[in-house]
Amino acid sequence: MRSALVALFLLGALPAAADTAEAISDHVLPGYAEFARASTDLAGAAAQDCSAAPLKEPWNRAFDAWMGVAHLRLGPAEDGGRALAIAFWPDPKATGARQTAAMIAAADPALATPEGLAGASVAARGFYALERLLWGAPYGPGDYSCALVRGLAGDLAGLAEALAQDWGQPGSGGYADQLLSPGAEGNTRFLTPDESRQALFTQLITGLEFNADQRLGRPLGSFDKPRPERAEAIASGRSLRNVTLSVIALRDLARSLAGEHPATEAAFARAIALAQDLDDPVFAGVAEPASRLKVEILQQAIRAAQEAALAEVGGALGVGVGFNSADGD
């Protein structure tokens, strides 16, 4: 950290402050606030009119906002499986689809409410349940699907609100304060500033890994057996958009946590440019050699960003991936 600061000083640049506090104030909390706002808008729209067509736009805006924070798999997002309830993917056994079908068949009005859904399986909730309904079989205002859309949108807004509340603002006694006050009385989750940094750094690294291995790796499958049907959010056409938004959000997390580092910045810029230039919204091209290569190049670029961040951001923060978590035995 010190050598990086000295280098910046010698170059005459004033380094922007970056550390756990900046990651929380500049990345985490604004991201959750935006997600809460967008999902409340979606719930409001669904309450007024549950028809599929007008809800697709607010659903997409809420999903865009979720991509700003979806990589933060710690604290409130982990409590009660909230991140799973918001976005249950990947789902190789199609558990979510089966549960949605079963709910429509059973048509239990008590279940189609935010309260009823709060007790339902995480696979039956969130963005993908809404996607199955909004992009699924047509329904009318009196159908059970309509009530279920309202309930799911309200449940999603409740989850988003709970995330924002449980993180809290600095000083409010929420999860943000646990990260900001390591070693404070009763704070056994984080005992030193390095543990807080490492927790956020881990989100950066695993977030990049998720984009490369899951969002791109699942549809890529193998060269002999590409699996385009395994891409994320195919019905709504968001597969590539999710990668693009997620990588941008992860770049912002890296910057707020450790400032700008040359190799990391360059690797992120390349990955983002490749994603923005790729004309393959649901990765259907993975089955054809020429278009498949473009998806593979994007995957390699995201892995390169992960390598650069491990070296530069990890080095600047003085943390790495865990001693035991990297062991595998």
């Binding site: 710690l74 604290g75 982990e78 409590d79 009660g80 499986g81 909230r82 799973l84 309830a85 990947p90 789902d91 190789p92 056994k93 399986s121 995480v122 056994t188 989750r189 005992l191 030193t192 390095d194 543990e195 490492q198 927790a199 881990t202 899951q214 865990g322 001693f323 035991n324 978590s325 062991d327 595998g328 035995d329």
Partner: protein
């Protein structure tokens, strides 16, 4: 070695009483760690979490096992292991060094016979990962005295059933490259839990045919013989799977499924397992997920806590619940889902915390 023989000679001549665990300055646990210098060592840890002794290791350690009567323990190298050190747990001094025979590799774990005369070590034939249990003369020189098949590929932890000389072995099922740890057979692996007589006769085998890619790796034993086994999922991480099983001889195994909200929290990986004193809770750790999940002995989820890079776990010494160690150097009590820090060392604690 020299010291142990010296002590034995003294004892035999009546010049000095035989030492027991009570003389060991009461280390309650053993654990390997990486030191800030980059070196590795084995540590004796007291009930309060304080480090009582330190013995340098020639490479990264993994687990250890304690002699049933003498204050003596064997520390094993991380697999593929080339060494095991016998330690005096009073002083931390090294008494003997074990080297696997040509073409064999230690796999990180071992167990003593009930009378302490034989040390059993979990090993593989380097080429092909065929499992072997090595036998060593723990009564005298720690000389190699034999071996038998472990009844599977890639055995990992071996334990002895309480009040018995029956061995239980977690055959992880993974064939690895002899030079590193690259897995070679994830599509065809077949792990099992095998009960072996002290002569190596297979007495009972437990397999999970529907979860063949769930590598059975670590074991915890309750005083009544209930075996907890912790697993590492080698299949699609998007598939929810149980990582804890419970088995009693002659019965079907019970799989402990996590609560719905916790189903992916461990990232398909359990690194260590322990029963709490009294045996009413069994917990598994995941450094990858930064989680400890506890279950009832019937397999029902009880609670979970978050702690980054947590892996070592053992029963609390003279208290309730568990003691955990992690890669940040923390030694902490863990009861009822709450962490109570005991001590923090400038070390990265390695996979296992061995209760003495």
């Amino acid at each position: 070695m020299r010291r142990r023989m010296f002590l034995a000679a003294l004892a035999a001549s009546g010049g000095m009483p035989l030492l027991s665990w009570a003389d060991a300055g009461s280390p309650a646990f053993l654990a390997a760690a990486k030191e800030p210098s980059g070196g590795y060592a084995l540590f004796g840890i007291g009930r309060s979490g304080a480090v009582l002794f330190r013995q340098p290791l020639p490479g990264r350690g993994h687990a250890a096992t304690a002699h049933p009567t003498r204050p003596e323990a064997v520390a094993f190298a991380r697999r593929p292991g080339t060494f095991a050190l016998v330690l005096d747990c009073v002083t931390g001094a090294s008494l003997a060094r074990l080297t696997p025979p040509e073409g064999r590799q230690f796999n990180g774990h071992g167990a003593y016979s009930a009378d302490g005369a034989v040390l059993y070590t979990s090993e593989v034939v380097a080429e092909g990962s065929e499992g072997r249990i090595g036998l060593w003369d723990a009564g005298r020189s720690y000389a190699r005295i034999g071996e038998f098949a472990s009844n599977g590929i890639g055995p990992h932890e071996i334990r002895r059933l309480p009040m018995s000389d029956m061995l239980v072995v977690a055959n992880g099922g993974i064939q690895t490259d002899p030079l590193d740890r690259t897995p070679l057979n994830l599509d065809s692996m077949r792990p099992n839990l095998s009960y072996l007589s002290p002569e190596g006769v297979v007495e009972e085998v437990v397999e999970l045919p529907d979860l063949a890619q769930n590598s059975i790796r670590h074991l915890a034993l309750r005083s009544d013989g209930l075996v907890g086994f912790a697993m590492q999922w080698q299949g699609d991480l998007a598939e929810p799977v149980p990582l804890l099983g419970l088995h009693r001889r002659g019965e079907d195994p019970t799989l402990a499924w996590p609560a719905d909200a916790e189903m992916f929290a461990m990232k398909g990986y359990a690194g260590s397992i322990a029963f709490a004193p009294g045996g009413q809770e069994v917990a598994i750790t995941s450094p990858r997920g930064g989680r400890v999940q506890a279950f009832s002995p019937e397999g029902a989820p009880l609670w979970s806590v978050a702690r980054g890079d947590v892996c070592g776990i053992g029963p609390a010494a003279g208290g309730d619940g568990f003691v955990i160690t992690d890669g940040q150097g923390l030694v902490a009590g863990l009861a009822g889902g709450r962490i109570a820090p005991l001590a923090q060392a400038g070390l990265a604690w390695d996979n296992h915390l061995i209760a003495l």
